[in-house]
């Protein structure tokens, strides 16, 4: 029996937050193996819904896709009766990965090591030589295949987005994200979607740096100079930034188009981003065909922990964010369109893929920035960031110059991870 004081000591040794309001983040959360291991247990195997893919990726009975929850390999399948299922890709016999392909179609999944065979739901179908052969005894009489299936996960499909969880107790997906976030998901997933393929980006930085990034409208026009160089997106544009109002782990940034040119704000402040010298020779890449209730150029919506829904102009992506150890993450951009797209609109979505992904005009710098943070902080785990922008206006939702979403995220993270706040409210380590 561990007593309370050793438990507390253990928590403090993992990481402690200098303040409880999410405005000070100890850098060790970006590189500590202990923090990482705790995340795998408390987040990815905890009460969260994890994005596995688009329903359209596993259209037909037998279709499967290998993916991950955190760093645990899992497989998403479409069963014979058309339902969705997911299981941990670890053989119940001696632990080999059962499914070895990225995608495919199969009625059963056979482990190559000793050919234990499972159905699409992960139930054990057969064990070679179970009844023995020529005097060999086989499996013991009390061996019950029903007890030796693959670890099966709860799966929920919300409007074509498929999520799974290890947790038996987490509330249904809709309650997990709450009505506000569901409304913004519905904005994009209001009709059937079609998978258009994926692109992948690997970054030598911690996964939470990417989540901070997609909750950080403050950086958009400062880091991504494409916006301002070609006059696309300006501070002063109408914005809507809010969290789920539950634990603050999910959020939305909408940048809403308005006609007024706000370039003057930059000229006055003399920020390096301002440059009126360039224009695109082919500006069809920035077309915005109205197709949503609110005419927004950017919809960036992280659904914690491993999904970011994105609409940028007319390009639509479900980004899957996967941790690969404390110091690396992978982003998988699942492009999609609507089943009823016209040929022209589909072509525009593909053309606007140039805006996002690893070579994205307005996104490629994100991993550059997260890697700079990783390199800058790796040796200073007890130092911390300073996240103060708009801290005195926690209710303000209509500006991009805010770090409210990031603070909400860290508060929710600290709670889910059960990490303590330093008792004395000092600035040590800065």
């Amino acid at each position: 029996m561990g007593d309370i004081s050793t438990d507390l000591e253990k928590r403090f040794s993992v990481a402690e937050f200098p303040k409880g309001d999410g405005s000070r983040v100890p850098y060790k959360v970006f590189s500590s193996q202990d923090v990482y291991d705790r995340e795998q247990e408390r987040i990815y195997r905890g009460p969260t819904w994890n994005f596995l893919g688009l329903e359209d990726e596993v259209k037909s009975p037998g279709d499967f896709k290998s993916t991950f929850i955190g760093d645990t390999p899992v497989v998403l399948t479409r069963t014979e009766d058309g339902e969705l299922a997911a299981w941990v890709n670890r053989c119940a016999h001696r632990g080999a990965m059962v499914c070895r392909l990225a995608r495919g179609n199969a009625k059963s999944h056979d482990c190559v090591y000793h050919q234990w065979s499972y159905d699409t739901r992960g139930n054990l179908l057969g064990v070679p030589f179970r009844r023995g052969q020529k005097g060999a005894e086989g499996m013991p009489k009390d061996f019950k295949p029903a007890n030796h299936g693959l670890r099966q996960l709860r799966v929920q499909n919300y409007r074509g987005l498929v999520f799974a969880t290890f947790s038996d107790s987490v509330v249904d997906f809709l309650d997990y994200v709450g009505p506000d976030m569901a409304g913004f998901i519905d904005r994009i997933f209001h009709k059937p979607v079609e998978y258009l393929g994926c692109t992948r980006q690997f970054s030598n930085s911690n996964w939470k740096l990417y989540l901070e990034n997609v909750k950080d409208p403050y950086h958009a026009s400062l880091l991504h100079l494409f916006h301002t160089t070609f006059n696309i997106f300006r501070v002063g544009m109408k914005a809507h930034c809010q969290t789920d109002n539950i634990d603050g782990l999910h959020s939305i940034i909408l940048a809403i188009k308005e006609q007024e040119n706000t370039g003057d704000a930059y000229k006055e402040q003399n920020i390096r981003s301002y440059d009126e010298g360039f224009s695109l020779e082919d500006d069809s890449i920035l077309a915005l065909v109205p197709e949503f209730d609110v005419l927004a150029t950017n919809h960036i919506q992280p659904i914690f922990p491993q999904l970011v829904i994105q609409q940028i102009h007319n390009t639509l992506v479900a980004r899957q964010l996967l941790p690969k150890g404390p110091n690396n993450f992978e982003l998988i951009f699942h492009f999609f369109g609507y089943a009823d797209d016209t040929v022209e609109l589909r072509a525009l979505r593909v053309k606007q893929a140039n805006l996002v992904g690893p070579a994205g005009y307005i996104s490629m710098e994100d991993t550059e920035a997260t890697e700079l943070v990783q390199q800058g902080t790796v040796r200073d785990g007890n130092a911390h960031s300073v996240i103060e922008m708009a801290r005195d206006a926690p209710e303000q939702k209509n500006t991009l110059i805010t770090e409210n979403l990031i603070r909400s995220f860290w508060k929710g993270y600290q709670k889910l991870m059960d990490l303590p706040t330093t008792k004395t409210d000092g600035e040590h380590g800065a």
């Binding site: 393929g197 994926c198 692109t199 160089t229 992978e330 593909v350 992904g357 690893p358």
Partner: protein
């Protein structure tokens, strides 16, 4: 035989010039190696094999190539890096009055400021050449790659 050899040399010459322009940081010359109405695309093989269109980069005219260069010179932020291309297995697929079609393997080694060189991308080119008043130019160049996990970002064309 001589004609086949000449075709092969024309393709090789243009590819060598292409590599020279990219690897030695003369990107401003890169768009002019294509005709106005061209296709340049970088797409993961997993999409190509499934018949899915999502690209990493896709320019369907020469103006878009010039926009890429302007953007990566003035707008995009990335750390200094150098490619070295290595090509092998050039095959001329067909020759007609309209176009020479070819395929070739490529390997791109990327070197960073710290002096590390690593395999950045391997794949194959699927391309077409047409003759213009200025000489041979690419009508299309598609880069279909297996190194699907792009390391950090992709700014410079492949």
């Amino acid at each position: 035989m001589t004609k086949d050899l000449m075709v092969r040399l024309e393709v090789q010459c243009l590819l060598d010039l292409y590599i020279d322009v990219i690897d030695n940081d003369r990107l401003e010359e890169w768009p002019a190696l294509f005709v106005e109405d061209c296709l340049y695309e970088i797409i993961p093989r997993e999409n190509e094999d499934m018949g899915l269109p999502a690209p990493v980069m896709r320019c369907d005219n020469q103006r878009m190539l010039r926009d890429r260069v302007i953007s990566l010179r003035n707008a995009n932020i990335f750390s200094p890096q150098t490619y070295r291309h290595f090509l092998s297995g050039l095959v001329i697929q067909s020759v007609s009055d309209a176009e020479i079609a070819f395929t070739s393997n490529y390997l791109v080694i990327n070197s960073n400021q710290a002096g590390q060189s690593f395999v950045y991308q391997t794949g194959r080119y699927l391309g077409g050449l047409v003759v213009t008043a200025e000489g041979w130019r690419f009508s299309r160049l598609r880069c279909i790659f297996e190194t699907s996990r792009v390391q950090t970002l992709l700014a410079i064309p492949i």
